[in-house]
């Protein structure tokens, strides 16, 4: 895939696990952030073991790339609804008002200190897949030199037309 070597992969929901990702402390109102955190956790656990190791020599140059065509629609809707109502906005909605926030959670937990990037591909990836846009960008970032590994996470929430939340994570390095 685009000159990338895959170190680990994970999908959510995963066949043996629960359908719902665990709640994520500090985040509310939306399944998006727990989904991103759960699939990232599963991928990193498969590569590094059950608990974050300290220090992991590669972590300091591991970047994060979140790709979501739909983004966190539930949080966006909650923000718009709260603003329109005139009621006081829950403060947690500020903290999760952009997709970088959950990447900060993952980066802090695993010590990943490379670039932090979020994109919105024009087309949502199918369950179990990473958008080609994200793979191309990961390859560019690796070639450019600020990271040796990239954790790519694709996440989409169910929309009004149906479907289910789904996420895919791959940890890649240059082939």
């Amino acid at each position: 895939m685009n000159g990338l070597h895959t170190l680990a992969t994970a999908t959510w929901p995963h066949p043996e696990g629960p359908g719902e990702p665990p709640a994520l402390p500090g985040f509310s109102a939306s399944t998006f952030n727990p989904l991103v955190a759960a699939v990232a956790e599963l991928c990193l656990t498969r590569h590094l073991g059950a608990e974050p190791r300290e220090p992991d020599p590669a972590a300091g140059r591991t970047g994060l790339l979140l790709a979501s065509a739909g983004g966190d629609r539930a949080t966006a809707l909650a923000i718009d609804t709260a603003a329109a109502s005139g009621r006081r906005m829950p403060a947690l909605l500020f903290f999760q008002s952009n997709p970088n926030a959950v990447l900060g959670h993952i980066a802090a937990r695993w010590g990943l200190a490379g670039p932090v990037v979020a994109i919105s591909p024009r087309e949502a990836a199918a369950p179990g897949e990473i958008p080609s846009d994200a793979l191309e960008l990961a390859a560019l970032m690796l070639a450019d030199g600020d990271a040796d590994q990239i954790l790519i996470i694709a996440a989409e929430q169910a929309d009004r037309s149906g479907g289910t939340d789904h996420g895919t994570a791959v940890l890649v390095t240059s082939a």
């Binding site: 005139g86 403060a91 909605l93 903290f95 926030a101 959950v102 900060g104 919105s120 450019d144």
Partner: protein, 370 residues
């Protein structure tokens, strides 16, 4: 840290376009920045009666967001002197992630198609470093020889949801003034902006006789690995991004002539950034003019890094550096050589624009006189 592969080309800027609270074009923005004249006014665009802070830097009658972006794109395109249907030119676009992101990107894609461009190649939604990330990627695409030029655009217009969220998160300045690095700073203020830049290979620009406005000499990115939204207190991520940009350009910290800091006016974030600068620049920091142009034009979120990059590029061509407005007096923990209203200075050969965002994302863009 830069790649060991030699670059195929050096990226330069051949066109800039900007819309800010001061109107369309670079001249009114630079006049305000050079005088430290801020664009903040009472918000009347939507109801802020229940908000703790009620000020932002706003256009009086803003166009729809996609039209604002397309105006900046058109200006950048015309300044670059590019022909219709220039061929291989991806468009990278930075926008806020919300319920309208896809529709705005579609409208921008339709508009750029009129210039003969193939649409929007990628949409960046990574908060306050979204546009700087797009510029770094544009530089990588050009320097590696993948494309002769890339157009980067960004837009953010202040709207009620984001304003209310920032207010609820106590991120906005309670006294209605953005005071980066100053004693008494209490938070940021939002601002409208759209901006666009043409990043082009120096060889491609030379072949068509285009005069570069500046060079994009270096770029760097690094993460804090610290917290969902709080900056790492020692500024290590900012420092590593800055060192990466300087190393890529082969520029010694003492050669820098101006630094446009992230400087949101947040008590914690400004202090972390100042610590990062002390770590990178050491004794040279005492002589380095620093300001945050956000103090004049406000924080334009996903568009902020591109707006500030345009201001930073313009600083290369001026003896009057952007003023750090809102200054009340020194914070003894900060200790920066801030640009306050005062005498003209020598034109900088190199200038740096820094940005940081939620998730501990940090970017550094180093520009050089052409």
């Amino acid at each position: 840290m830069s790649s060991s592969a030699p670059p195929a080309a050096r990226p330069v800027f051949t066109g800039l376009g900007v819309l800010s609270a001061f109107g369309r074009g670079l001249a009114p923005l630079l006049a305000a920045a050079g005088q430290g004249r801020t664009g903040f006014t009472e918000v009347t665009r939507f109801d802020v009666a229940r908000r703790g802070t009620r000020r932002a830097a706003l256009l009086p009658d803003p166009p729809p967001l996609a039209d604002a972006v397309l105006g900046a794109v058109t200006d950048a395109w015309q300044q670059a002197g590019l022909p219709d249907r220039p061929g291989d030119t991806p468009v990278l676009l930075a926008l806020h992630s919300d319920l309208h992101t896809g529709a705005v990107a579609d409208a921008v894609a339709g508009g750029v198609a009129a210039l003969g461009l193939p649409g929007v190649a990628r949409v960046y939604t990574g908060a306050c470093v979204a546009a700087a990330t797009a510029v770094a990627d544009a530089a990588a695409l050009v320097a590696s020889g993948r494309h002769p030029r890339v157009l980067v655009a960004a837009g953010h217009l202040v709207e009620p949801g984001v304003f209310a969220a920032f207010d609820a998160g106590r991120a906005l300045a309670r006294d209605g003034e953005l005071r980066p690095f100053s004693t008494g700073r209490s938070g940021t203020l939002l601002g409208d902006a759209a901006a666009a830049v043409v990043v082009e290979a120096d060889t491609a620009a030379e072949r068509r006789g285009a005069l570069p406005l500046a060079r994009l000499a270096g770029w760097g990115r690094a993460g804090d690995a610290y917290h969902v939204c709080r900056p790492r207190p020692d500024g290590d991520g900012v420092a590593r991004a800055t060192r990466s940009a300087l190393a890529r350009a082969g520029v010694d910290p003492s050669e820098l002539g101006y630094l446009n800091a992230n400087g949101t006016g947040s008590p914690m974030s400004d202090l972390a950034e100042a610590r990062a600068l002390r770590e990178v620049f050491g004794d040279a920091l005492a002589e380095l003019p620093v300001s945050s142009s956000k103090s004049v034009h406000g924080h334009a979120l996903e568009a902020s890094a591109l707006l500030e990059l345009v201001v930073t590029i313009a600083a290369l061509d001026s003896e009057r550096l952007p003023v750090n407005a809102g200054w009340l007096g020194p914070d003894p923990e900060i200790g920066l050589n801030l640009v306050l209203a005062g005498p003209d200075r020598p034109r900088p050969r190199y200038a740096l624009s820094l940005n940081s965002a939620f998730g501990g994302a940090n970017t550094a863009l180093l520009v050089a006189a052409a």
